[in-house]
Symmetry: D2
Subunit: 207 residues, 4 copies
Amino acid sequence: MPKKLTKLMITGFDPFGTEKVNPSWRAVSNIPDKIESVEIIKQQLPTVFDKSLEKLISQIEDKDPDAIILTGQAGGRHAISVERVAINVNDANIPDNENNKPKDNYIFDHGPTAFFSTLPYKEIVDQIRNYEQIPAEVSNSAGTFVCNHVMYGMLYHLHQRNKPIKGGFIHVPFLPEQVLNKPGKPYMALDDIVKGLLRAIKVTCEV
Amino acid sequence: MPKKLTKLMITGFDPFGTEKVNPSWRAVSNIPDKIESVEIIKQQLPTVFDKSLEKLISQIEDKDPDAIILTGQAGGRHAISVERVAINVNDANIPDNENNKPKDNYIFDHGPTAFFSTLPYKEIVDQIRNYEQIPAEVSNSAGTFVCNHVMYGMLYHLHQRNKPIKGGFIHVPFLPEQVLNKPGKPYMALDDIVKGLLRAIKVTCEV
Amino acid sequence: MPKKLTKLMITGFDPFGTEKVNPSWRAVSNIPDKIESVEIIKQQLPTVFDKSLEKLISQIEDKDPDAIILTGQAGGRHAISVERVAINVNDANIPDNENNKPKDNYIFDHGPTAFFSTLPYKEIVDQIRNYEQIPAEVSNSAGTFVCNHVMYGMLYHLHQRNKPIKGGFIHVPFLPEQVLNKPGKPYMALDDIVKGLLRAIKVTCEV
Amino acid sequence: MPKKLTKLMITGFDPFGTEKVNPSWRAVSNIPDKIESVEIIKQQLPTVFDKSLEKLISQIEDKDPDAIILTGQAGGRHAISVERVAINVNDANIPDNENNKPKDNYIFDHGPTAFFSTLPYKEIVDQIRNYEQIPAEVSNSAGTFVCNHVMYGMLYHLHQRNKPIKGGFIHVPFLPEQVLNKPGKPYMALDDIVKGLLRAIKVTCEV
């Protein structure tokens, strides 16, 4: 029987672009500090290339979690999207929060083309749908902005350090308040995003 | 100063088509029986041409409300949609719950082409957006199925009886649980639908 | 046997809002001057409240057509939308081309709430779908901007003059070139819009 | 100055799922046999895991093209989607044309996680948009069905054989005739898909 995990890190981003809130951090900050026997470490990351990854890696080294769930906003998506893969490219359509806008750069020059998530992404999706009755899906692209950047960078880091810990990324939709002037854009209630992330934590930690 | 309303009727429908729930009735049944000084009369209507209207009118005559808010499911809509107008046509694309599927019939042979809602629909939309931060919009079509049918029929009835009471229709989106296997279809959390209807009641009754 | 029609007027609008072209006029100007035995009168209308209607009515009185098909752009719609009904309201969300932005005004103070189209809208939709294999639908709302304004105004005029001629409105989607920077917005090729309008003319004139 | 290419292979698929046509092959079969000095080799592939790839590779070895553009249908996409990356997974939601439905298998057990396209995908997208005025975009996911399967398999094959030839994948939307009963689904006219592919060939071959 696999050992149950005891320390999970979950991150969210600060707002970017024209948005005043980021549903990922809003949801993460609503997660309790302890879920059953698992200690939850919550961390906000800046929506900035490189800095986000530096902060994440320093936190991983400092806190030494057993599993890591990164979360971010995916404006335009209908469902909680659990990412399958991160690719080795930075290709921004809008500037990050320090005005960087890399185009078609590698994240790591000699890194592999991609890494698969090591979270149980299918099981997370199934349980969010079945137990929470909330729209969720496996996504095959985390984009090419800061979300994919930290997902790839984290998986590369864990691979380099040979750390066999579970890690991956979950994208969440806009909140209702973000789409008031975006007719037709999908959104999800904060409560449902939080329920989805709690379920993801439970599946990941098998609690 | 206009007299505040003291008795409001709000209706929802039973499930129809391939759906197992109807968010309109789910939401209405969560509305309290009294909001400030206003008595709330909740009524489920069958998703059946004519029968729905007969039941509604008999309830109106029996309960004599000061205002009437009809609600129904609008699968595919992103926002709480407060209807502006009902038109004199039954034109079903799917059968109702007793297998009626009228095509291009008048609701009342000698009725006018349309009636405008007499609810304060603009103010309802504005307050749902501003105070509840929930997507809401004025809609210019209640469709041509049972929702439009009861809206038109009620407004025709009130007009015939010369009853100067406020009446109209609010469409609500699918619930999250209804779209699990409808990728890309919009939905709204039940809590948010309820908040929207509560706000509509308050605006209508000026409480 | 009904007399076949011999003179049809078809109109389109000039560009409005932030658009540089209007697919309705682009398509109308590609319609030939004669279709079988039917003379086609093509007329551009300004996207301006009142002026559009004045121009249309003066053209109707001058040219005395047997049928009138008004067309306009419906950005955001997926299909050729043949309108069923026009309502007695001007309610603009953006300014027209002379900076008018009426809010919740009647088009005619003592006009009825709505007029149904007198075009064979169901048959037009069926034939566009079946013979041209192009997406088409009956629409139950022409909006509350200049398109609905001229549709209502024309039907009111024909009704007042007791002219038993067929008249109605067809909305067409954006062109591909209009959505290059509107990700996810639907569009239709100009050739297909033209084919749809030609079919609508043939159905209306029974040629 | 780079040598201009003289032989380009372009493939499309046969229809799959509930569809009666496949816009990719419909478009490819409309491409001429010669474009300026470039010989065009057109090949239909079966929508079947493994068989599609075996046929493709045998054709590549037989015809020895200088560049390869694979195309396929992406129902639900609004734009011509030039793929950036293929991933090492077969994960079907519907059966292929021989009833295979692999779930979460590797395409090649010891293959890398992903390969980037070696087509000039950004330039193709830019030129389709600027010169043809047709919606086009870089896509970061070719899915996990047969399209991604042949794209990954081809890139793996070229990499193993050390063949420095350009290769990649272009997804095209449904045709209008395919969405008549799929309200709201995006589509593109066949002429426009053909224009987009012709432009992609010209960019790839620098003619």
